[in-house]
Symmetry: C3
Subunit: 352 residues, 3 copies
């Protein structure tokens, strides 16, 4: 498996670089980019796992979410620079739906095939669900509803205000988790014995190096991938919304995906949930508001106003995840419910 990932990355990335300079066909580039990203995700997953063993599950989860979303932030900034606000909002939606339904769903399912019942921290789940409601059902819903009787300038001002509140609360949340309440909610039934016997694959130094190189490579490849999206629209008849919500989400979150499922199969459901929901929160409370603020200096300003289908899909997904997580337990059927919800939304966005 690891050998396959190595072949894919060391052949794929140079080919993408070559293709970018030699203007290979869009379809070939699309295939090459997707394969390379999946290969690179494997490296990111292994590096993160090594780091997670060294640093404990919470910091490991944070690392994962950070390295997954740096890619998204970079892609979105380039897209914003090109003036395509609609695709940025669609890919933010897709990121939320992909993490909440696809990544978490496959983690629950894959882990649940191996273990009858898996547990994760109830306190983390409650912390996450409070922020999910805040970010999606308040910070995203309010501008949508209020904007119908506002002009576009006022709507953008409201978005700026909400963006500042979101970022401030996100930083306060890190302060809460890492400083004032660090370890306060740690349960005594942590499988410490299990953790101790684990040996990281790579050293801390090597892990960080691999993480950095892979992230840079993913960023470069992802950008090439974005250029092929126009072709997907004209050749396969896919709408911008479907490309943003589904394709960008699957490929852009491949990193979180691989690590979350890997952790789930190893019965470290705490890390899987942290990756999937933590990544969602980072997109909603950090990437999205930062993009709103950056868009002040861009050709088209981006208000925090999604389309109604995008918003309803995110709200419904949040309610489902909050409900399935609030017992601190998962099984294969809960994973299948999440995955089925993703399929229904995928069909919807495809037909829209």
């Amino acid at each position: 498996m690891n050998r396959l990932f190595a072949v894919v990355v060391f052949a794929g990335v140079p080919l993408v670089i070559a293709g970018a300079f030699l203007n290979w066909s869009d379809f070939l580039m699309f295939i090459l980019c997707c394969i390379s990203i999946i290969g690179l995700s494997g490296y990111i997953g292994r590096a993160t796992e090594s780091l997670a063993i060294v640093s404990g599950p919470r910091v490991g989860g944070l690392l994962n979410a950070t390295f997954g979303n740096a890619v998204e932030l970079i892609i979105s900034i380039f897209t914003l620079k090109a003036g395509m606000v609609g695709i940025v909002l669609a890919s933010l939606t897709g990121s939320v739906l992909g993490n909440l339904l696809l990544v978490l769903g496959l983690s629950f399912f894959a882990g649940g095939i191996k273990y009858k019942r898996q547990n994760f921290s109830l306190h983390d789940a409650q912390y996450n669900s409070g922020l999910l409601i805040f970010a999606i059902i308040i910070a995203f819903v309010i501008p949508e509803v209020f904007s119908t009787s506002m002009d576009s300038k006022t709507t953008f001002n409201l978005s700026i205000g909400i963006a500042i509140v979101l970022i401030a609360l996100y930083l306060a949340g890190l302060f809460f988790k890492l400083v004032t309440h660090r370890g306060v909610f740690t349960s005594s039934d942590n499988k410490e014995g299990e953790v101790e016997e684990e040996v990281p694959e790579w050293t801390k130094k090597k892990s960080i190096l691999v993480l950095l190189l892979s992230t840079v490579a993913v960023a470069f490849v992802s950008e090439q991938l974005v250029h092929t999206f126009e072709m997907l629209g004209s050749k396969f008849g896919w709408t911008e919304l479907f490309i943003g919500v589904i394709i960008v989400a699957i490929v852009g979150n491949a990193a979180e995906h691989v690590s979350a499922v890997t952790m789930a199969v190893k019965n470290k459901m705490d890390v899987s949930v942290e990756i999937a929901v933590g990544s969602t929160l980072q997109v909603a409370m950090f990437v999205a508001p930062v993009l709103v603020i950056i868009s002040i200096f861009m050709p088209n300003q981006m208000a925090l106003v999604f389309t109604i289908p995008e918003l309803v899909a995110m709200v419904a997904a949040s309610f489902l995840v909050i409900n399935l997580c609030n017992d601190g337990e998962s099984n294969w059927f809960e994973g299948l419910i999440l995955f089925s919800a993703y399929i229904i939304m995928g069909i919807g966005f495809f037909l829209l």
Copy 2:
């Protein structure tokens, strides 16, 4: 009480048959049908109870929900054949609202009058609430929201896709409950002593026979009842929506009603909740999607698009039930809350 039921059934059903052939007045037929169904429901309740004692609470609950909804499926197919898609959707709504608010509400209330606090399985409640959110807030809301920017053909295609996902997940849920996780969540504090001293009223064979005969009779009588609905509209000024949502729901769910309340008074709240919420899930995840697929061959195709008041009422009812059930406990006041919600929605649909 049992003697009264016997009189009602053995006098009522022949009278309905006679009336159907002799074309008695609609008003008389309406009264006869309602009384007969309530009497038959008593038999169904007693038969199911006997079976439940033999087979345990979970299978007993499934039996109840199945025999209650077979009637609804048959009525709906006849209505669909007559091209009245609106009434079918209204009666599906009424079934969901009736089970969640009226049946569960009266069970909580009647049981709560006798017992200060009643308990039911927290794991079943969480399983049910996850599926409720999936079925109502995702599978029913998505086509509604997405259909506003779709033509009717695309909306029907989306409905077919969602119907297939719903049925597949419903079957997977049965597999989860009855095969892979059978008994996994059974708590050790089951009142086994209490169960053992119970003696079923009828033998297994007799129970099954009564169940089958009663179900056939309910189906026949219900069909006669539907024919009288036009009269209700013209004579009492009731709208189609009110007839579908309220009248069909009360009469059509009389079976679940009687058994659920009976079980609640006997402090078997597990069975009551299983009947009310399980029946809702069967309507939403099995009856409704099967009707969508059957409607391919019918004069008018039925997309899974409810009216906005119907959808909002179902979503609000789901949130209320999920919240009241998530502590695994009930009392008379929670029953009154559910019943009051039903009254408010009843007034709304009556005035609409």
Copy 3:
């Protein structure tokens, strides 16, 4: 601190009375009224606290909520008499948002600064969240959604019906809490030792006298305050909606505010939650429906139909509070989440 309150009240109230007869400038009166109310709130808080020590946390909480909302009811009746239905609905909204987000948020935050984790009764939280969903998500949402296809007379009839159901359920809830289930859910880990060592500041008789006098004074001063609102609109460009939702809410709930935060800092989080959420429920289930019924005899009838932004804000706030309270625990970060939600809605209503 107490001396400051004394100065503010014994100087402020006479000045407001003088200003009312001498027609002082609106801006001066606005400042004087606000200061006087805050001072009076201090007295109400101390009197309620003394009574709470004598009568136990639950009755103490009820007293608080009652004396806070009597003021609101009186102001609303005067406003209704002047025909300004929109401002009454806006101030009801503001009361709900102010209690759920601002009062509860500051209580959680202030208490959380002092204590790492604070606990409150899980059973009371569940009782409250069931009623919150009933009142906001069913009783307020249904008329909004159904009214779009109703004429205004039918909408008002629907509102009357819902108002009667709300009041009946509110009274049934008091019967449940104080009669049939009094003490049923009391946990054994109540800090009884702590309670016993507390000495009330005032006797029962003096507390009641102070409560009554302060409430009368608050009512008088609040009415003067309302007269200055027109000036706020013309001078500062504040919309009616912003004045109703934000200004009336902050000043009108100052009493609950001071007592809730005071109790939180004393680690009596049970009382804080009872004040904030209990007050919300009293506004939604008692004050609002009573105003609907009173409006029959008023120049303009008040249907229970809020604007869409008002309704969405209340629904979103309810979901957030229910989620944050359902673990029976609070900390400073949960307080900050609630406060941030209030800020976002405040910006929204200000810009609307």
